[in-house]
């Protein structure tokens, strides 16, 4: 995926899926966190492209590039979403709707606002 428009479209697609989930219930809070991370991944990738750079293919490549174009707080929020989504997928870590809400408000929200200030039409 190589263009800003493609990444923004994928972010909107993930938002549409997130809107179909009952995020007020603990049952699928883990998957809600995973989808939230992938929404963030495409938003951050769009910002990296907007600086004329490539985001790479792994987290080890993408994170330093995110840190180069985002504020320290936004870059940390993005990495928090990454590591949390990784933890809930592969390990015995339970998640709750409350934790999802915390990530949404404390990390994704500010990250989205920063992305929107740099890339028009980001959602």
């Amino acid at each position: 995926m190589n263009t800003i428009a493609q990444h923004l479209e994928k972010a909107r697609h993930n938002l549409a899926f997130l809107n179909t989930m009952d995020v007020g219930d603990d049952t699928f809070a883990d998957w809600a966190i995973v989808v939230l991370f992938y929404r963030a991944l495409h938003l951050v990738s769009a910002v990296i492209h907007s600086h004329g750079r490539d985001h790479g293919t792994t987290h080890g490549q993408r994170q330093p590039r995110a840190e180069a174009v985002l504020s320290p707080a936004a870059a940390q929020s993005y990495e928090r979403l990454y590591t949390r989504s990784r933890a809930v997928r592969y390990e015995e870590v339970t998640s709750t709707a409350r934790e999802f809400e915390r990530l949404l408000k404390s990390d994704f929200g500010p990250l989205l606002r920063e992305v929107q200030s740099r890339v028009p039409n980001a959602a």
Binding site: T58, G60, Q76
Partner: protein
């Protein structure tokens, strides 16, 4: 003493492995000549040797690992919520696992700035990261391919 004699004498010393000692007083011009004629070609030949180059690279990587471990230990020790840090090195990349106790969000807030400092300090290394609560890392917990303990919080003495 002719210059050819001096060069030969120094060459014998070099061949005997005496390259680390300073040249004798008054022989610096001769030593420079020896370096140009003998030592530099020797070093170039070594650098062109794949086995030597591999050893040199391995030594460099070992030094870098030690520096990463040192930074991790120092930074993690200053964060009370970090219990342990494991590292899994694979082809120039390192996957790090921070084990934290208490609130996971707070543990992430302690570990993630360390990740940023690692990336700033070692830009040639690709760092991956996972942060888990200690409660999920029981005795049967397995992680990574060849994990190494890079930091473990010391038990408080009773």
């Amino acid at each position: 003493m002719t210059s050819s004699t001096s060069v030969r004498d120094i060459g014998v010393a070099a061949a005997a492995g005496d390259l680390t000692s300073a040249p004798p007083a008054g022989t610096l011009p001769m030593w420079g000549l020896a370096y140009a004629e003998l030592v530099r070609p020797l070093l170039e030949a070594l650098a062109a040797d794949p086995a030597y180059a591999a050893r040199l690279q391995a030594w460099g990587e070992e030094q870098q690992r030690a520096e990463v471990k040192s930074l991790l230990s120092r930074e993690s020790a200053s964060q009370g919520s970090i219990v342990a840090v494991l590292g899994d090195w694979q082809d120039g990349e390192i996957d790090l696992l921070f084990v934290v106790e208490g609130d996971l969000y707070d543990g992430e807030s302690a570990a993630l700035p360390i990740m940023r400092r690692l990336r700033a300090g070692f830009p040639s290394i690709a760092f991956d990261v996972m942060i888990l609560p200690a409660s999920s890392c029981g005795p049967h917990f397995r992680w990574g391919i060849a994990p190494e303990v890079l930091y473990r919080r010391q038990q408080a003495s009773t």
